[in-house]
Symmetry: C2
Subunit: 233 residues, 2 copies
DNA sequence: TGACAGCGCAGAGCAGTGCTCTTTAATGGA
DNA sequence: TCCATTAAAGAGCACTGCTCTGCGCTGTCA
Protein backbone atom coordinates (compact mmCIF):
# COMPACT_ATOMS: atom_id res chain seq x y z
CA UNK A 1 0.00 0.00 0.00
CA UNK A 2 2.92 2.27 0.66
CA UNK A 3 4.33 1.33 -2.73
CA UNK A 4 1.19 2.28 -4.57
CA UNK A 5 0.88 5.45 -2.64
CA UNK A 6 4.36 6.45 -3.63
CA UNK A 7 3.58 5.47 -7.21
CA UNK A 8 0.74 7.93 -7.19
CA UNK A 9 2.86 10.44 -5.40
CA UNK A 10 5.56 9.92 -7.98
CA UNK A 11 3.31 10.64 -10.93
CA UNK A 12 1.99 13.59 -9.06
CA UNK A 13 5.43 14.98 -8.41
CA UNK A 14 6.36 14.43 -12.02
CA UNK A 15 3.36 16.37 -13.26
CA UNK A 16 3.89 19.11 -10.71
CA UNK A 17 7.45 19.43 -11.91
CA UNK A 18 6.32 19.55 -15.53
CA UNK A 19 3.80 22.25 -14.77
CA UNK A 20 6.35 24.44 -13.05
CA UNK A 21 8.80 23.90 -15.89
CA UNK A 22 6.34 24.93 -18.56
CA UNK A 23 5.26 27.81 -16.38
CA UNK A 24 8.86 28.90 -15.99
CA UNK A 25 9.43 28.85 -19.74
CA UNK A 26 6.29 30.89 -20.21
CA UNK A 27 7.45 33.27 -17.53
CA UNK A 28 10.75 33.64 -19.35
CA UNK A 29 9.10 34.62 -22.60
CA UNK A 30 5.97 36.44 -21.52
CA UNK A 31 6.73 37.76 -18.06
CA UNK A 32 4.86 37.21 -14.84
CA UNK A 33 1.52 38.70 -15.81
CA UNK A 34 1.64 36.87 -19.13
CA UNK A 35 1.74 33.56 -17.34
CA UNK A 36 -1.51 31.79 -18.08
CA UNK A 37 -2.72 28.65 -16.39
CA UNK A 38 -4.75 27.79 -19.47
CA UNK A 39 -1.73 28.09 -21.72
CA UNK A 40 0.25 25.81 -19.43
CA UNK A 41 -2.60 23.34 -19.52
CA UNK A 42 -2.79 23.53 -23.32
CA UNK A 43 0.91 22.90 -23.66
CA UNK A 44 0.53 19.85 -21.44
CA UNK A 45 -2.43 18.57 -23.41
CA UNK A 46 -4.63 18.92 -20.37
CA UNK A 47 -7.74 20.88 -19.76
CA UNK A 48 -7.27 23.97 -17.62
CA UNK A 49 -9.29 22.74 -14.68
CA UNK A 50 -6.94 19.80 -14.25
CA UNK A 51 -4.13 22.14 -13.25
CA UNK A 52 -6.06 23.05 -10.15
CA UNK A 53 -5.45 19.56 -8.82
CA UNK A 54 -1.81 20.55 -8.54
CA UNK A 55 -1.87 24.24 -7.82
CA UNK A 56 -4.96 25.60 -6.07
CA UNK A 57 -4.51 28.96 -7.77
CA UNK A 58 -2.33 30.94 -10.10
CA UNK A 59 -0.71 32.62 -7.12
CA UNK A 60 0.40 29.26 -5.79
CA UNK A 61 2.11 28.56 -9.08
CA UNK A 62 3.82 31.92 -8.87
CA UNK A 63 4.90 31.14 -5.35
CA UNK A 64 6.52 27.96 -6.56
CA UNK A 65 8.33 29.90 -9.27
CA UNK A 66 9.46 32.52 -6.77
CA UNK A 67 10.89 29.85 -4.51
CA UNK A 68 12.67 28.33 -7.49
CA UNK A 69 14.03 31.73 -8.39
CA UNK A 70 15.39 32.37 -4.92
CA UNK A 71 16.99 28.98 -4.92
CA UNK A 72 18.50 29.49 -8.36
CA UNK A 73 20.07 32.77 -7.28
CA UNK A 74 21.24 31.08 -4.12
CA UNK A 75 22.85 28.25 -6.07
CA UNK A 76 24.52 30.73 -8.42
CA UNK A 77 25.92 32.61 -5.46
CA UNK A 78 27.08 29.44 -3.73
CA UNK A 79 28.85 28.16 -6.81
CA UNK A 80 30.52 31.47 -7.51
CA UNK A 81 31.75 31.60 -3.94
CA UNK A 82 32.97 28.02 -3.96
CA UNK A 83 34.99 28.61 -7.12
CA UNK A 84 37.19 31.18 -5.36
CA UNK A 85 40.12 30.58 -3.03
CA UNK A 86 38.56 30.79 0.39
CA UNK A 87 41.09 33.34 1.65
CA UNK A 88 40.38 35.82 -1.13
CA UNK A 89 37.48 37.54 0.53
CA UNK A 90 37.24 40.43 -1.87
CA UNK A 91 37.38 38.02 -4.80
CA UNK A 92 34.67 35.84 -3.30
CA UNK A 93 32.52 38.84 -2.60
CA UNK A 94 32.89 40.22 -6.11
CA UNK A 95 32.21 36.78 -7.54
CA UNK A 96 28.92 36.60 -5.67
CA UNK A 97 27.94 40.07 -6.84
CA UNK A 98 28.72 39.13 -10.41
CA UNK A 99 26.85 35.86 -10.07
CA UNK A 100 23.72 37.66 -8.93
CA UNK A 101 23.95 40.11 -11.80
CA UNK A 102 24.68 37.45 -14.39
CA UNK A 103 21.81 35.32 -13.20
CA UNK A 104 19.52 38.34 -13.38
CA UNK A 105 20.65 39.19 -16.90
CA UNK A 106 20.11 35.60 -17.97
CA UNK A 107 16.69 35.34 -16.32
CA UNK A 108 15.25 38.84 -16.42
CA UNK A 109 11.64 37.88 -15.94
CA UNK A 110 12.38 35.53 -13.10
CA UNK A 111 14.47 38.22 -11.48
CA UNK A 112 11.64 40.69 -11.92
CA UNK A 113 9.26 38.24 -10.32
CA UNK A 114 11.52 37.74 -7.34
CA UNK A 115 13.11 41.13 -6.74
CA UNK A 116 10.92 43.44 -8.77
CA UNK A 117 7.63 44.86 -7.69
CA UNK A 118 5.45 42.23 -6.13
CA UNK A 119 2.81 40.96 -8.53
CA UNK A 120 -0.39 42.85 -7.79
CA UNK A 121 -2.78 41.12 -5.47
CA UNK A 122 -0.06 38.68 -4.64
CA UNK A 123 1.24 38.50 -1.11
CA UNK A 124 4.53 36.69 -0.64
CA UNK A 125 3.82 33.94 1.85
CA UNK A 126 6.11 32.97 4.67
CA UNK A 127 7.17 30.01 2.53
CA UNK A 128 9.34 32.26 0.39
CA UNK A 129 11.28 33.79 3.24
CA UNK A 130 13.60 30.88 3.88
CA UNK A 131 14.82 30.45 0.28
CA UNK A 132 15.15 34.22 0.04
CA UNK A 133 17.97 34.16 2.56
CA UNK A 134 20.00 31.59 0.67
CA UNK A 135 22.04 34.01 -1.44
CA UNK A 136 22.26 36.47 1.42
CA UNK A 137 23.70 33.72 3.58
CA UNK A 138 26.59 33.25 1.17
CA UNK A 139 27.17 36.98 1.17
CA UNK A 140 27.07 37.16 4.94
CA UNK A 141 29.42 34.26 5.38
CA UNK A 142 32.07 35.97 3.27
CA UNK A 143 31.83 39.08 5.39
CA UNK A 144 32.01 37.06 8.56
CA UNK A 145 34.92 34.96 7.26
CA UNK A 146 36.79 38.11 6.36
CA UNK A 147 36.07 39.55 9.76
CA UNK A 148 37.29 36.48 11.58
CA UNK A 149 40.49 36.53 9.53
CA UNK A 150 41.03 40.16 10.49
CA UNK A 151 40.75 41.12 6.82
CA UNK A 152 37.94 43.56 7.36
CA UNK A 153 38.89 47.20 7.64
CA UNK A 154 35.86 49.45 7.24
CA UNK A 155 36.93 53.01 6.47
CA UNK A 156 35.84 55.47 9.12
CA UNK A 157 33.63 57.56 6.95
CA UNK A 158 30.25 56.37 8.19
CA UNK A 159 28.46 57.61 11.27
CA UNK A 160 27.74 54.88 13.81
CA UNK A 161 24.60 52.87 13.03
CA UNK A 162 21.44 53.83 14.92
CA UNK A 163 20.75 52.31 18.32
CA UNK A 164 17.60 50.75 16.93
CA UNK A 165 19.67 48.64 14.59
CA UNK A 166 21.20 46.79 17.54
CA UNK A 167 18.65 43.95 17.75
CA UNK A 168 18.65 43.55 13.97
CA UNK A 169 22.42 43.28 14.00
CA UNK A 170 22.22 40.68 16.74
CA UNK A 171 19.77 38.67 14.66
CA UNK A 172 22.04 38.93 11.65
CA UNK A 173 25.00 37.76 13.73
CA UNK A 174 22.97 34.79 14.87
CA UNK A 175 21.97 33.80 11.36
CA UNK A 176 24.30 34.91 8.60
CA UNK A 177 27.13 37.13 9.81
CA UNK A 178 28.73 35.72 12.88
CA UNK A 179 30.60 37.98 15.29
CA UNK A 180 30.53 41.05 13.12
CA UNK A 181 30.07 44.52 14.65
CA UNK A 182 26.84 46.47 14.34
CA UNK A 183 28.64 48.91 12.10
CA UNK A 184 29.86 46.25 9.70
CA UNK A 185 26.48 44.54 9.70
CA UNK A 186 24.78 47.77 8.71
CA UNK A 187 27.29 48.40 5.96
CA UNK A 188 26.90 44.88 4.69
CA UNK A 189 23.12 45.14 4.48
CA UNK A 190 23.47 48.45 2.70
CA UNK A 191 25.94 46.90 0.29
CA UNK A 192 23.57 44.04 -0.37
CA UNK A 193 20.74 46.42 -1.20
CA UNK A 194 23.07 48.51 -3.35
CA UNK A 195 23.90 45.40 -5.35
CA UNK A 196 20.27 44.77 -6.11
CA UNK A 197 19.63 48.43 -6.75
CA UNK A 198 22.31 48.35 -9.40
CA UNK A 199 21.02 45.16 -10.98
CA UNK A 200 17.43 46.38 -10.95
CA UNK A 201 18.33 49.74 -12.47
CA UNK A 202 20.19 48.03 -15.26
CA UNK A 203 17.50 45.46 -15.89
CA UNK A 204 14.53 47.75 -15.64
CA UNK A 205 15.88 50.25 -18.10
CA UNK A 206 17.00 53.02 -15.77
CA UNK A 207 20.51 53.02 -17.21
CA UNK A 208 19.23 53.68 -20.72
CA UNK A 209 21.18 56.60 -22.18
CA UNK A 210 23.16 56.86 -18.97
CA UNK A 211 25.56 53.95 -18.65
CA UNK A 212 26.92 52.28 -21.74
CA UNK A 213 29.57 49.84 -20.50
CA UNK A 214 27.50 48.27 -17.78
CA UNK A 215 29.87 45.42 -17.07
CA UNK A 216 32.66 47.79 -16.19
CA UNK A 217 30.46 50.20 -14.30
CA UNK A 218 28.98 47.42 -12.22
CA UNK A 219 32.42 46.09 -11.42
CA UNK A 220 33.60 49.51 -10.35
CA UNK A 221 30.55 50.27 -8.24
CA UNK A 222 30.72 46.95 -6.47
CA UNK A 223 34.38 47.45 -5.70
CA UNK A 224 33.46 50.76 -4.11
CA UNK A 225 30.71 49.14 -2.07
CA UNK A 226 33.03 46.34 -1.04
CA UNK A 227 35.60 48.84 0.08
CA UNK A 228 32.92 50.70 2.03
CA UNK A 229 31.94 47.47 3.76
CA UNK A 230 35.58 47.01 4.76
CA UNK A 231 36.95 44.57 2.23
CA UNK A 232 40.44 45.25 0.96
CA UNK A 233 40.68 46.81 -2.51
CA UNK B 1 -13.38 78.67 -35.07
CA UNK B 2 -10.34 78.54 -32.92
CA UNK B 3 -12.50 79.21 -29.91
CA UNK B 4 -14.82 76.30 -30.62
CA UNK B 5 -11.94 74.05 -31.36
CA UNK B 6 -10.47 74.89 -28.01
CA UNK B 7 -13.86 74.27 -26.42
CA UNK B 8 -13.81 70.75 -27.77
CA UNK B 9 -10.19 70.43 -26.85
CA UNK B 10 -10.99 71.62 -23.38
CA UNK B 11 -13.64 69.00 -22.78
CA UNK B 12 -11.31 66.46 -24.21
CA UNK B 13 -8.51 67.48 -21.88
CA UNK B 14 -10.90 67.45 -18.97
CA UNK B 15 -12.03 63.92 -19.70
CA UNK B 16 -8.47 62.76 -20.32
CA UNK B 17 -7.51 64.18 -16.96
CA UNK B 18 -10.45 62.50 -15.28
CA UNK B 19 -9.55 59.16 -16.81
CA UNK B 20 -5.98 59.35 -15.59
CA UNK B 21 -7.15 60.40 -12.15
CA UNK B 22 -9.52 57.49 -11.79
CA UNK B 23 -6.87 55.22 -13.23
CA UNK B 24 -4.37 56.50 -10.70
CA UNK B 25 -6.74 55.88 -7.82
CA UNK B 26 -7.34 52.37 -9.12
CA UNK B 27 -3.61 51.91 -9.47
CA UNK B 28 -3.18 53.00 -5.89
CA UNK B 29 -5.62 50.41 -4.58
CA UNK B 30 -5.24 47.51 -7.01
CA UNK B 31 -1.76 47.84 -8.43
CA UNK B 32 -0.67 48.08 -12.03
CA UNK B 33 -2.00 44.75 -13.27
CA UNK B 34 -5.26 45.34 -11.46
CA UNK B 35 -5.86 48.47 -13.46
CA UNK B 36 -8.84 47.80 -15.69
CA UNK B 37 -10.01 50.03 -18.50
CA UNK B 38 -13.51 48.72 -18.09
CA UNK B 39 -13.52 49.57 -14.41
CA UNK B 40 -12.35 53.08 -15.17
CA UNK B 41 -15.10 53.39 -17.75
CA UNK B 42 -17.69 52.12 -15.28
CA UNK B 43 -16.61 54.62 -12.68
CA UNK B 44 -16.99 57.38 -15.24
CA UNK B 45 -20.39 56.17 -16.32
CA UNK B 46 -19.10 55.47 -19.78
CA UNK B 47 -18.99 52.35 -21.83
CA UNK B 48 -15.55 50.78 -22.11
CA UNK B 49 -15.10 51.39 -25.80
CA UNK B 50 -15.41 55.13 -25.28
CA UNK B 51 -12.15 55.17 -23.34
CA UNK B 52 -10.34 54.20 -26.50
CA UNK B 53 -11.12 57.65 -27.90
CA UNK B 54 -8.73 59.01 -25.30
CA UNK B 55 -6.18 56.27 -24.84
CA UNK B 56 -5.55 53.94 -27.77
CA UNK B 57 -4.64 51.10 -25.42
CA UNK B 58 -4.15 50.17 -21.83
CA UNK B 59 -0.42 50.60 -22.24
CA UNK B 60 -0.90 54.19 -23.27
CA UNK B 61 -2.82 54.82 -20.08
CA UNK B 62 0.00 53.23 -18.12
CA UNK B 63 2.49 55.40 -19.94
CA UNK B 64 0.56 58.48 -18.87
CA UNK B 65 0.60 57.25 -15.28
CA UNK B 66 4.31 56.54 -15.45
CA UNK B 67 5.01 60.04 -16.69
CA UNK B 68 2.87 61.43 -13.89
CA UNK B 69 4.78 59.30 -11.43
CA UNK B 70 8.17 60.51 -12.61
CA UNK B 71 6.96 64.06 -12.42
CA UNK B 72 5.54 63.57 -8.95
CA UNK B 73 8.83 62.21 -7.69
CA UNK B 74 10.60 65.04 -9.44
CA UNK B 75 8.38 67.61 -7.77
CA UNK B 76 8.88 65.99 -4.38
CA UNK B 77 12.64 66.11 -4.87
CA UNK B 78 12.56 69.71 -6.07
CA UNK B 79 10.49 70.87 -3.13
CA UNK B 80 12.63 69.04 -0.62
CA UNK B 81 15.73 70.59 -2.10
CA UNK B 82 14.24 74.07 -2.22
CA UNK B 83 13.28 73.89 1.45
CA UNK B 84 16.92 73.61 2.51
CA UNK B 85 19.54 76.35 2.83
CA UNK B 86 21.34 76.23 -0.49
CA UNK B 87 24.76 76.01 1.10
CA UNK B 88 23.91 72.93 3.16
CA UNK B 89 24.75 70.38 0.51
CA UNK B 90 24.60 67.35 2.72
CA UNK B 91 21.27 68.53 4.12
CA UNK B 92 19.87 69.11 0.65
CA UNK B 93 21.08 65.74 -0.50
CA UNK B 94 19.59 63.94 2.46
CA UNK B 95 16.35 65.84 2.01
CA UNK B 96 16.09 64.64 -1.58
CA UNK B 97 16.78 61.05 -0.53
CA UNK B 98 14.11 61.27 2.15
CA UNK B 99 11.69 62.86 -0.29
CA UNK B 100 12.08 59.98 -2.72
CA UNK B 101 11.57 57.43 0.02
CA UNK B 102 8.60 59.22 1.52
CA UNK B 103 6.94 59.57 -1.84
CA UNK B 104 7.51 55.88 -2.48
CA UNK B 105 6.04 54.90 0.88
CA UNK B 106 3.04 57.12 0.24
CA UNK B 107 2.50 55.83 -3.30
CA UNK B 108 3.78 52.26 -3.30
CA UNK B 109 1.95 51.09 -6.39
CA UNK B 110 2.91 54.11 -8.41
CA UNK B 111 6.49 53.65 -7.30
CA UNK B 112 6.34 50.00 -8.31
CA UNK B 113 5.00 50.99 -11.70
CA UNK B 114 7.78 53.48 -12.26
CA UNK B 115 10.82 51.90 -10.63
CA UNK B 116 9.73 48.31 -10.21
CA UNK B 117 9.78 45.62 -12.82
CA UNK B 118 8.39 46.84 -16.09
CA UNK B 119 4.86 45.63 -16.65
CA UNK B 120 5.01 42.56 -18.85
CA UNK B 121 4.60 43.22 -22.52
CA UNK B 122 4.97 46.89 -21.84
CA UNK B 123 7.91 48.73 -23.32
CA UNK B 124 8.69 52.13 -21.84
CA UNK B 125 8.55 54.55 -24.75
CA UNK B 126 11.01 57.39 -25.29
CA UNK B 127 8.32 59.69 -23.92
CA UNK B 128 9.07 58.57 -20.40
CA UNK B 129 12.79 59.25 -20.53
CA UNK B 130 12.62 63.03 -20.14
CA UNK B 131 10.42 63.07 -17.00
CA UNK B 132 12.53 60.25 -15.60
CA UNK B 133 15.49 62.56 -15.31
CA UNK B 134 13.65 65.19 -13.34
CA UNK B 135 14.47 63.91 -9.87
CA UNK B 136 17.95 62.89 -10.96
CA UNK B 137 18.53 66.44 -12.15
CA UNK B 138 17.89 67.77 -8.65
CA UNK B 139 20.25 65.20 -7.24
CA UNK B 140 22.92 66.02 -9.78
CA UNK B 141 22.64 69.72 -9.21
CA UNK B 142 23.33 69.30 -5.50
CA UNK B 143 26.46 67.32 -6.26
CA UNK B 144 27.61 69.84 -8.80
CA UNK B 145 26.82 72.79 -6.47
CA UNK B 146 28.81 71.15 -3.73
CA UNK B 147 31.68 70.53 -6.11
CA UNK B 148 31.73 74.13 -7.30
CA UNK B 149 31.78 75.31 -3.70
CA UNK B 150 34.71 73.03 -2.98
CA UNK B 151 32.59 71.14 -0.48
CA UNK B 152 33.07 67.79 -2.11
CA UNK B 153 35.75 65.56 -0.66
CA UNK B 154 35.37 61.98 -1.90
CA UNK B 155 37.32 59.58 0.33
CA UNK B 156 40.07 57.80 -1.54
CA UNK B 157 38.74 54.31 -1.06
CA UNK B 158 37.39 53.69 -4.57
CA UNK B 159 39.44 52.55 -7.54
CA UNK B 160 39.34 54.96 -10.46
CA UNK B 161 36.27 54.53 -12.65
CA UNK B 162 36.71 52.52 -15.85
CA UNK B 163 37.91 54.25 -19.01
CA UNK B 164 34.66 53.31 -20.70
CA UNK B 165 32.76 55.48 -18.26
CA UNK B 166 34.45 58.60 -19.68
CA UNK B 167 31.85 59.43 -22.35
CA UNK B 168 29.02 58.72 -19.94
CA UNK B 169 30.57 61.06 -17.41
CA UNK B 170 30.92 63.72 -20.08
CA UNK B 171 27.24 63.35 -20.94
CA UNK B 172 26.33 63.61 -17.28
CA UNK B 173 28.42 66.75 -16.92
CA UNK B 174 26.63 68.23 -19.91
CA UNK B 175 23.21 67.49 -18.52
CA UNK B 176 22.94 67.19 -14.76
CA UNK B 177 26.31 67.37 -13.00
CA UNK B 178 28.38 70.23 -14.34
CA UNK B 179 32.16 70.15 -14.00
CA UNK B 180 32.33 67.12 -11.80
CA UNK B 181 35.13 64.57 -12.19
CA UNK B 182 34.59 61.15 -13.70
CA UNK B 183 35.22 59.66 -10.29
CA UNK B 184 32.59 61.76 -8.56
CA UNK B 185 30.10 61.20 -11.40
CA UNK B 186 30.49 57.45 -11.03
CA UNK B 187 30.06 57.63 -7.26
CA UNK B 188 27.02 59.83 -7.66
CA UNK B 189 25.32 57.43 -10.07
CA UNK B 190 26.11 54.55 -7.75
CA UNK B 191 24.67 56.53 -4.85
CA UNK B 192 21.54 57.24 -6.82
CA UNK B 193 21.03 53.54 -7.58
CA UNK B 194 21.78 52.65 -3.97
CA UNK B 195 19.01 55.01 -2.89
CA UNK B 196 16.49 53.25 -5.08
CA UNK B 197 17.83 49.86 -4.12
CA UNK B 198 17.14 50.71 -0.51
CA UNK B 199 13.66 52.05 -1.20
CA UNK B 200 12.77 49.08 -3.40
CA UNK B 201 14.01 46.55 -0.86
CA UNK B 202 11.94 48.19 1.84
CA UNK B 203 8.85 48.50 -0.31
CA UNK B 204 8.98 45.09 -1.92
CA UNK B 205 9.29 43.25 1.34
CA UNK B 206 12.97 42.36 1.30
CA UNK B 207 13.54 43.93 4.71
CA UNK B 208 10.90 41.77 6.32
CA UNK B 209 12.37 40.19 9.45
CA UNK B 210 15.67 41.96 8.77
CA UNK B 211 15.32 45.67 9.42
CA UNK B 212 12.85 46.92 11.99
CA UNK B 213 13.52 50.65 12.34
CA UNK B 214 13.61 51.44 8.65
CA UNK B 215 13.56 55.20 9.05
CA UNK B 216 16.74 55.16 11.06
CA UNK B 217 18.43 52.55 8.92
CA UNK B 218 17.64 54.45 5.76
CA UNK B 219 18.99 57.62 7.25
CA UNK B 220 22.19 55.92 8.28
CA UNK B 221 22.71 54.17 4.96
CA UNK B 222 22.13 57.34 3.01
CA UNK B 223 24.61 59.22 5.17
CA UNK B 224 27.17 56.54 4.35
CA UNK B 225 26.43 56.81 0.66
CA UNK B 226 26.61 60.59 0.80
CA UNK B 227 29.94 60.38 2.53
CA UNK B 228 31.14 57.95 -0.12
CA UNK B 229 30.09 60.39 -2.82
CA UNK B 230 32.14 63.08 -1.12
CA UNK B 231 29.63 65.06 0.88
CA UNK B 232 30.70 66.14 4.34
CA UNK B 233 29.27 64.13 7.26
C1' DT C 1 -13.65 -11.59 -7.13
C1' DG C 2 -16.60 -7.72 -6.52
C1' DA C 3 -18.15 -3.47 -4.22
C1' DC C 4 -16.49 0.90 -2.84
C1' DA C 5 -13.93 5.13 -2.00
C1' DG C 6 -10.63 8.41 -3.80
C1' DC C 7 -8.39 10.61 -7.29
C1' DG C 8 -7.60 12.71 -11.87
C1' DC C 9 -9.47 14.59 -15.74
C1' DA C 10 -12.95 16.63 -19.01
C1' DG C 11 -16.30 19.80 -20.03
C1' DA C 12 -19.46 23.37 -19.34
C1' DG C 13 -20.09 27.61 -17.40
C1' DC C 14 -19.48 32.24 -14.81
C1' DA C 15 -17.64 36.70 -14.50
C1' DG C 16 -14.24 39.28 -15.88
C1' DT C 17 -10.57 41.33 -19.27
C1' DG C 18 -8.56 44.18 -23.69
C1' DC C 19 -9.87 45.46 -27.88
C1' DT C 20 -12.55 46.02 -32.51
C1' DC C 21 -16.33 46.99 -35.35
C1' DT C 22 -20.63 48.99 -36.58
C1' DT C 23 -24.25 51.93 -35.60
C1' DT C 24 -26.29 55.99 -33.56
C1' DA C 25 -26.22 60.64 -31.57
C1' DA C 26 -24.36 65.20 -30.91
C1' DT C 27 -21.55 69.04 -32.17
C1' DG C 28 -20.02 72.95 -34.65
C1' DG C 29 -18.43 75.09 -39.17
C1' DA C 30 -19.83 76.22 -44.25
C1' DT D 1 -29.73 74.73 -42.73
C1' DC D 2 -26.85 71.05 -44.29
C1' DC D 3 -23.15 68.05 -43.48
C1' DA D 4 -18.68 66.43 -41.97
C1' DT D 5 -16.32 65.50 -37.85
C1' DT D 6 -16.30 63.67 -33.33
C1' DA D 7 -18.12 61.17 -29.35
C1' DA D 8 -20.56 57.55 -27.43
C1' DA D 9 -23.00 53.17 -27.35
C1' DG D 10 -23.53 48.37 -27.96
C1' DA D 11 -22.53 43.96 -29.61
C1' DG D 12 -19.10 40.77 -30.15
C1' DC D 13 -14.41 38.15 -30.25
C1' DA D 14 -10.90 35.82 -27.99
C1' DC D 15 -8.94 35.40 -23.89
C1' DT D 16 -8.32 34.97 -18.61
C1' DG D 17 -8.90 32.66 -13.55
C1' DC D 18 -11.74 29.78 -11.30
C1' DT D 19 -15.81 26.60 -9.92
C1' DC D 20 -18.84 22.77 -10.26
C1' DT D 21 -20.53 18.51 -11.98
C1' DG D 22 -19.98 14.14 -13.87
C1' DC D 23 -17.35 10.27 -15.62
C1' DG D 24 -13.80 6.78 -15.59
C1' DC D 25 -9.83 4.71 -13.70
C1' DT D 26 -7.22 2.84 -9.78
C1' DG D 27 -6.14 0.72 -5.65
C1' DT D 28 -8.19 -1.31 -1.22
C1' DC D 29 -10.65 -4.10 1.64
C1' DA D 30 -14.19 -7.52 2.68
Amino acid sequence: MNASRTARERVREELTREITEIARSQLATEGAAGLSLRAVAREMGMVSSAIYRYFPSRDDLLTALIIDGYNAIGVAAEQADAACPSGDYTGRWLAVCRAVRNWALAHPHEYALVYGSPVPGYQAPQQTIAPATRAATVYGKIISDAHRAGALDPPGICPPPPQSFGPDAAALRASVMAKVSDDVAARAVAGWTALFGMVSFELFGQFENVITDRDAFFEHSMRCQGRLTGLSP
